[in-house]
Symmetry: C2
Subunit: 306 residues, 2 copies
């Protein structure tokens, strides 16, 4: 096998209560990548379609992640990477993570799988540095592992994968506005109240328990964020109304996807998710800002060969 | 049935990462209570053996909890309560909670179980106000429900019970010193760093995941507290050495039980737990402060009829 075409799914990080630790993998939204094994050693980004991103390996998320992998595995070949971006950069659904995860997954397949998917997370994290300035795993972990993921801690990296309940669906509304990562970082407070933190970790515990016991109501009750959402929601026009609409139409919970501006809702069953998606879209139309809306099952596999 | 004798188990709250939300129930340590149904309405504490606690109903934890119950259920009888304290007050293993939980459990039994165990938690919480000034459920919930409990949130109270893995054992070392609740509260900081909070809720998620998947190593890795333990451990002579000794002898994790001064360790298997208990006790002897040490399986039932 000298060439591989892969699907690199979008992901939702944070999931309200789990800032910087929780994430899930989507099924219906994602990039495509082609990875080619070639004689010339090294990593080359040969083509990027659908986004204006750097072709220089060391400046490209996929390139840096790929370099991290081949620095750990002495290959006699090199690799060419073609990226077909469908997830918009800055949308809050893991655009850079999809590229980083896709690159390391594809190269690992062409090398005969020397690394497990969990081991690939560390390489993909190196790519994230290019996009956000820090190594974080809350999007690359669900992209590589599928389902829900919990990053229990770093040093060493400790990622736990959790199956999604069968009937869980995600709705994502992506408003066509740019929220700069620097802005969404700037609104965060370095100090928070112990009281809010206790509320938050009660909810993290509840969400994890809800996932293991397929308790949809508990999942819904746990999707609360008293720390980050109150600060970041002001960067997303009409956030409160859209969230209210989602809940009013039967969503289990709703919040900001990653650093935003995308808004997500979790729903039990496809029928509810589709109703919620329509209602959220109609509500958002009132802002005059165009938005894309997606409905997706939770992707149990993660990045995969097409 | 006009009289009932019950076992009211000790409990470990917080469990390192889960300050104010997590707890577990012990099997080998607990008070006994006798509850008697009598013609004269109201609640009377008729006897307290083993502790110097108020007999006046409105000043007694068990009395106040019992009053909360009978205020919600119009009984034609009254109840007498005898308390045989074995858990020392101020030990950090839920002494007041055992009394509050025992009272409401016993009366509920004599009334023909109008309330579920979960419903009893709210009444028992009223008793906690007498002991600590606030309604909290992190000890009364595991005492009433057994196993592990997560208090996801209050308003309304949302308690999740989680089975303990079969081979999990707790060691509790209770140094015979008094740590005033006011002192252990005073060292807490009302504001904490977002970074520490993220570490903490990653570990809460990890601990819950470890319990559901019977992953002892994950349970161990998650028993970390970067927020409260660093502040409170100075109130407990030799804490660091005892914790180090527990870990060195094979404990999965160790920390402060409740507000202290008791130190707990969780272990896989009775043999390891007994070895850890001996090592912790020997280490503590060096302080010259007497200490009691207990080894216990996690109690799957909670408060029970003897």
């Amino acid at each position: 096998m000298n060439e591989i075409k892969i699907f690199c799914p979008a992901t939702i990080a944070n999931l309200s209560c789990g800032f910087d630790v929780l994430g899930l993998c989507l099924e219906t939204i994602g990039d495509e990548m082609i990875i080619r094994k070639v004689k010339e050693k090294g990593i080359r980004i040969t083509k990027i379609i659908g986004a204006d991103l750097p072709l220089k390996t060391e400046k490209n998320v996929a390139g840096v992640a790929a370099l991290a992998l081949i620095n750990k595995f002495d290959s006699e070949y090199g690799f060419e990477i073609e990226i077909h971006k469908k997830i918009k950069a800055g949308s809050g659904i893991g655009s850079s993570s999809a590229s980083a995860a896709g690159a390391v997954f594809g190269i690992n397949e062409l090398l005969g799988k020397p690394f497990t998917r969990k081991e690939l997370v560390e390489f993909a994290m190196k790519g994230e540095v290019v996009a956000s300035g820090s190594e974080h795993a809350d999007n690359v972990a669900p992209c590589l592992l599928g389902g829900f993921t919990l990053v229990r801690g770093y040093n060493p990296l400790d990622v736990i994968r959790i199956d999604s309940p069968e009937e869980l669906f995600a709705v994502v509304l992506h408003p066509q506005i740019e929220v700069k990562t620097s802005d969404s970082r700037a609104v965060l407070q370095p100090m928070i109240s112990l009281k809010s933190a206790i509320t938050q970790w009660g909810n993290v515990g509840g969400l994890i328990a809800g996932l293991y016991t397929t308790d949809y109501e508990l999942i819904g009750r746990s999707l609360q964020d008293v720390i980050v959402e109150p600060l970041r929601k002001h960067l997303i026009p009409n956030f409160d109304q859209v969230k209210f609409t989602a809940m009013h139409h039967g969503a289990l919970g709703a919040g900001i996807s990653g650093a935003g501006p995308s808004i997500f809702a979790l729903c039990k069953g496809l029928a509810v998710a589709e109703k919620v998606a329509i209602a959220m879209t109609e509500e958002y139309l009132k802002t005059g800002i165009p938005a894309d809306t997606y409905v997706s099952k939770i992707n149990p596999i993660g990045v995969s060969i097409i």
